[in-house]
């Protein structure tokens, strides 16, 4: 689990992993509705992470815990 931050706005989310200073666009997010938001997220660099599905945050950016499923590089 790593602390991450999601920035940007719906349709153009940006993923930020402070520990590795990795900033990248999110190309897909499994759930993206106001009630259910999160799940598996795919990054532009090919990496995938998982955030516990939750209700969509009222505003961004937001800091979350994420699990790395498959890191790029």
């Amino acid at each position: 689990m790593a602390n991450i931050m999601i920035q940007g706005s719906k349709g153009a989310y940006v993923f930020y992993l402070p520990k590795r200073d990795l900033e990248d666009a999110i190309v897909s997010m499994e759930f993206d509705t106001p009630e259910k938001w999160g799940g598996e997220i795919k990054l532009n660099n090919g990496g995938t992470y998982y955030i516990e599905p939750q209700t969509a945050p009222a505003r961004l950016p937001i800091s979350l815990r994420a699990k790395r499923l498959d890191a790029a590089e």
């Binding site: 402070p18 200073d21 900033e23 660099n45 950016p61």
Partner: protein, 491 residues
């Protein structure tokens, strides 16, 4: 010499890599690249923010340098204790020329060195008691300080002192903020992690101090973050923002105060000059206080005008008009500078190797003078820095990350730039080789270079260095007059 083609640049990199052993070669290869503007993601062509190779001469600093030297050090009304042995602080003391207003030793402490001067017994028995005593002494001798930060040097982490506990206790006793910063030099691969740790300390120990308190704001409040006021840079930037109608509430950390930092959560926009060292805190404030942030670039009239317009676009028409007014006011002055120096500098080629923002930010200033940057690189940049750089650099130019002393020398010998801009450790090698050189960390004891006023000084300095008649008269001490390698003289 004309610009190198892509193939030539690639061949040059291969040639330079030739001397390394196989393993080292494989590692360094990833850090050297030929710029290709069509690449969207820098990591496809260059690797950065990795541990330096043992055995090469790197030009990087340590996390302590990133925190004490860069982020915290310039906060002028606080006392920054270099906690550990005396050397780390003493050898870096006042080297960065962060100008400030105030009476040193009375209400400001920027150029002074405070250290706990660790001795063997402190390593053996721990230094917490000494730290507590030191804070008491500081408070007695310099009662006008507004706070204290404890900047850990390597040893503190190694012996496991609890500086947080001491700081908390001392803060109560002296009723001022005492900020422990865990920036031991061994953390991370370069000073970059020190910036991050310093930002986190500001986030945890400084910004919340004013939460919920009253603040009389205006719709035009901004903070200038990541300008270290080297040679007065922040001053020549700040006046432009104020002239266009904004109110600069806080300026970090050059000529900065802790009160300004505490007020930052109340501004409307955070303006970030050095993205590398301050993006963390900007992101934090965006999340916690909903303050948007933007990067700007105040090097050279083209970029200044671009940035002023971009900043104004975040505000109402009054500010937009203000920006146009400022740009129009300085335009003729800048034209005069360009008319004077461009003919003397036109077509000259520059190679840079600097720190946080300059490898890309100053490109525009050189272009305003008709010069071309043919190689650039960061000491401690990350992927996102290179992402931003690729677009600013010409195609087929050289990019080098954490360049080694050897590589840099070879590149300069082959590319033959008319000017090299880098740090103090590189300065004398190139000067002895007869290559015009500017120290681009502390502006070679000149400056400011930011803003419109700074550009006039920048242009003059570049001309002064480049067109100095001395360069052709120099024979490197290791060469004979005819250019052959000199015999080693017996010592």
């Amino acid at each position: 010499m004309t610009a190198l083609t892509r193939e030539e640049t690639e061949a040059l990199i291969q040639e330079v890599l030739e001397v390394y052993p196989e393993k080292a070669k494989k590692d360094r290869e990833k850090h050297l690249a030929v710029n290709d503007q069509s690449i969207e993601q820098s990591k496809k062509c260059i690797t950065s923010n990795r541990k330096s190779l043992p055995g090469v001469m790197t030009i990087r600093g340590c996390a302590y340098a990133g925190s004490k030297g860069v982020v915290w050090g310039p906060i002028k009304d606080m006392i920054h204790i270099s906690h550990g042995p005396v050397g780390c602080g003493q050898y870096s003391r006042a080297g960065r020329r962060n100008y400030y207003v105030g009476t040193t030793g009375v209400n400001t402490f920027g150029t002074m060195n405070f250290t706990s001067d660790f001795q063997e017994k402190d390593i053996v028995f721990g230094g917490d008691k000494k730290l507590a005593k030191l804070i008491g002494e500081i408070e007695q001798l310099f009662p006008l300080n507004k706070g204290i930060s404890v900047q850990s040097e390597c040893q503190i982490g190694l012996i496991g002192d609890d500086i947080e506990a001491v700081s908390k206790k001392a803060a109560k006793e002296i009723d001022k903020p005492v900020v422990p910063v865990r920036c031991e030099g061994f953390r991370g691969v370069s000073q970059s992690l020190g910036h991050h740790i310093a930002n986190d300390a500001i986030r945890d120990w400084v910004l919340p101090r004013r939460d919920g308190k009253a603040f009389e704001g205006t719709p035009y409040d901004v903070a200038v973050i990541g300008d270290y006021n080297i040679g007065g840079d922040a001053w020549s930037s700040r006046i432009l923002l104020e002239e266009m109608g904004l109110r600069v509430v806080a300026q970090w950390s050059g000529d900065g105060t802790i009160a300004e930092m505490e007020k930052t959560p109340y501004v409307k926009v955070n303006l970030i000059h050095c993205y590398r060292s301050m993006n963390y805190i900007a992101r934090h404030m965006e999340e916690k206080y909903s303050i948007p942030w933007m990067e700007y670039n105040f090097f050279g009239p083209t970029k200044v005008a671009e940035s002023l317009r971009a900043i104004a676009a975040l505000f109402d028409d009054k500010i937009k008009e203000g920006a146009e007014r400022v740009i129009a006011k300085y335009q003729p002055l800048m034209q005069a500078v360009i008319d004077k120096y461009k003919p003397r500098l036109q077509g000259k080629r520059v190679m840079l190797y600097v720190g946080g923002l300059r490898p890309r930010h100053v490109i525009g200033a050189y272009e305003d003078l008709g010069m071309e940057v043919v190689g650039t690189g960061y000491e401690f940049g990350h992927n996102d820095d290179y992402d931003r750089t690729i677009k600013d650099m010409g195609n087929a130019t050289l990019l080098y990350d954490d360049v080694t002393g050897f590589e840099f020398e070879e590149f300069v010998k082959k590319v033959k730039p008319d000017l090299v801009g880098s740090g103090i450790k590189e300065k004398f090698i190139f000067q002895k080789m007869g290559v015009p050189f500017r120290q681009m960390h502390s502006w070679d004891y000149s400056g400011p270079y930011h803003g419109y006023d700074g550009f006039a000084i920048f242009a003059r300095d570049m001309d002064m260095t480049l067109n100095n008649p001395c360069w052709s008269k120099i024979t490197a001490p290791w060469l004979n007059k005819d250019g052959s390698l000199a015999e080693k003289k017996a010592a």
